[in-house]
């Protein structure tokens, strides 16, 4: 932890500030484009502050297409997948971290290796499977697998579980507590930051997922935002202003969630008090 020295603080703010400009630049462009009229879109040199602001674009973009419905769909799928991920991945990671068994190492390596095969070649067999069991054109292929674990998060959580000293768990076990009770009361409270991380990562992944909804969803009524946005991204012509309007709004939930998540992220430490 850095000591609070005013000089260092100023230096820090400066550094972060300069970097921030680079980070924010494209968003300024995005927001600016979302307020442009059709003619201003093609102006060169590019217009940074389009006047008058076409707030109308937002209204038009969201009413032209059923974005309300799509927001709902995306929210449903995302929330379900975050729940599924947290449930299944913490449980599996705990197993890998604390419970020895024959074949554990091999299974762990196999799990890591499932991250190594490119989507292009497994996409079609998966698509075939889901079509055969009739799950295509529904949210099932997007949500049910999240209740069955995910190598990336299991790996991440296992790393963090391994850093927790096992003493408290041993004590609880001697007291006769069951596996899930220990997990819930002893381990998870201490690893809140990584749990929040997993939740935020999966929220982003599900919210912005494009490829899976593209393949598995046929009916427009089921579309998610990531997919629906592309209705403005035509074959020969892109309607930039509407596209940016939607993109800006679509980004808000993930950003707000991240911002709020930070608070609990830090609080998670405070609550556990001193460790070790």
């Amino acid at each position: 932890m850095l000591k609070k020295q005013p000089l260092l603080s100023i230096l820090l703010y400066l550094l972060l500030g300069i970097g921030s400009v680079a980070m924010l630049f494209p968003f300024v462009w995005m927001v600016s484009t979302s307020f442009k009229s059709d003619i201003q879109l093609y102006a060169w040199p590019p217009v940074w502050l389009p006047l008058p602001l076409q707030v109308d674009n937002y209204v038009k973009a969201f009413t032209k297409l059923p974005f309300g419905l799509w927001f709902g769909n995306t929210a449903l799928v995302t929330i379900l997948s975050v729940c599924g991920t947290l449930l299944s991945c913490t449980v599996a990671a705990y197993g890998f971290a604390r419970y020895r068994a024959p074949g554990r190492t091999a299974l762990f390596m196999i799990m890591i290796s499932t991250m190594m095969i490119p989507w292009t070649v497994v996409m079609i067999p998966k698509f075939f499977l889901f079509t055969q069991i009739g799950w295509v054109n529904s949210f099932l292929p997007l949500t049910v697998p999240t209740f069955l674990g995910n190598a990336f998060y299991v790996f991440l959580l296992r790393q963090f579980f391994l850093t927790v000293p096992p003493d408290t768990e041993e004590a609880a076990k001697i007291d006769g507590a069951g596996v899930f009770s220990i997990l819930w009361h002893v381990v998870l409270p201490v690893t809140v930051p990584v749990l929040i991380t997993v939740a935020i990562f999966q929220f982003d992944a599900a919210w912005n997922d494009f490829l899976q909804p593209l393949i598995y969803l046929n009916k427009q009524e089921l579309f998610t935002i990531a997919l629906g946005m592309n209705f403005f991204n035509g074959q020969f012509e892109v309607q930039w202003n509407y596209l940016m309007a939607v993109a800006c709004v679509a980004m808000l939930p993930t950003v707000i969630l991240f911002f709020i998540g930070q608070k609990y992220f830090v609080q998670g430490i405070a609550l556990t008090g001193m460790k070790g």
Partner: protein, 300 residues
């Protein structure tokens, strides 16, 4: 009365398998099945319209000896990984350290650095093309102010790959949370006792932070390598492997064969070759991990 050790061990094993049972379903139905199917296809010629035709090892032989872009694509992918993975680790950690302080406004800064990882698709592509344009773009205009003649960036075969590395650093803030979670897991008490002993910040970093961060470093290293070797997005959305194949990542090369050239069999063979390479590398890193990764909570 204590239960015999073998019974305890068996109970432990049972609990293990019970805990991972949901994931096992995933493994069998959604991972192993498709992976084995793709392995089968790698021994066939399949244009996806007519049934696959068994051709044995032909695809593999073609890849290793006759495909003019196989080795080029592999070296591009490796080159990218060798440069971008360490860079991302170092910059990611440095950024996380900066954002770890609890000064007012840190939450806002963290969110700002996190934003780039949220924007994707066509919007990013257009923006970067605008930034990288050799004559009118942002970068070269900035360099021009200092009297430097900027290169062709993504339009120049020699600069395209470095440009993509540069771009990957822009969204490094997306992984900050993982670093922060790792940093937050290090007890303050350790730092405090070290400071009482008179250790300076560099020493504290090297002897406390780094060792206790190794599980996180290990995770980011493995996932970084796996991710870098499978790099696809920018090639697909922006460069299409060009200019002149200088950004033809392996994953894009195989996608191109699958969907543009209708050769899913060959693409599957390429995918498995990539798989083997990634697996070997990962195993190497894993085997060394015993020596440098410190968990602190491991059961011996």
């Amino acid at each position: 009365m204590r239960k015999p050790k073998s019974l305890l061990r068996r109970k432990e094993a049972w609990i293990f398998y019970m805990l991972i049972s949901p994931w096992l379903i995933h493994l069998i139905a959604l991972d192993a099945g498709p992976m084995l199917a793709s392995l089968y296809f790698s021994f066939t010629e399949w244009n996806m319209l007519t049934p696959p035709e068994w051709i044995g090892l032909s695809n593999y032989i073609f890849a290793l000896s006759k495909d003019p872009l196989f080795w080029k694509s592999l070296s591009i992918t490796f080159g990218f990984a060798v440069l971008s993975v360490p860079l991302n680790l170092v910059v990611g950690l440095a950024l996380a350290l900066l954002l770890n302080v609890s000064l007012p406004g840190t939450r806002l800064f963290r969110t700002i650095y996190y934003l780039p990882s949220q924007i994707n698709g066509v919007a990013v592509m257009v923006m970067w093309i605008f930034v990288f344009n050799p004559e009118l773009g942002l970068l070269n205009s900035l360099l021009g102010l200092f009297g430097i003649q900027g290169p062709g960036w993504i339009f120049d075969p020699d600069w395209a790959l470095p440009s993509l590395i540069f771009m990957s650093l822009w969204s490094v803030g997306g992984g900050t949370m993982i670093w922060l979670a790792g940093l937050k897991g290090i007890p303050d008490s350790l730092y405090e006792s070290a400071m009482l002993d008179g250790a300076g910040s560099w020493k504290r970093f090297v002897y406390i932070t780094l060792p206790l961060l190794t599980p996180t470093i290990f995770f980011n290293l493995i996932t970084g390598v796996i991710g870098a070797l499978q790099k696809f997005g920018e090639a697909y959305v922006m460069t299409k492997g060009g200019p002149l194949n200088s950004t033809r990542f392996f994953n894009f090369h195989l996608y191109d064969y699958a969907f543009s050239k209708f050769e899913m069999g060959y693409a599957s063979a390429l995918a498995w070759l990539l798989f083997i390479i990634i697996l070997v590398l990962t195993l190497i890193v894993f085997s060394t991990s015993g020596r440098w990764v410190y968990y602190g909570g491991e059961k011996k």
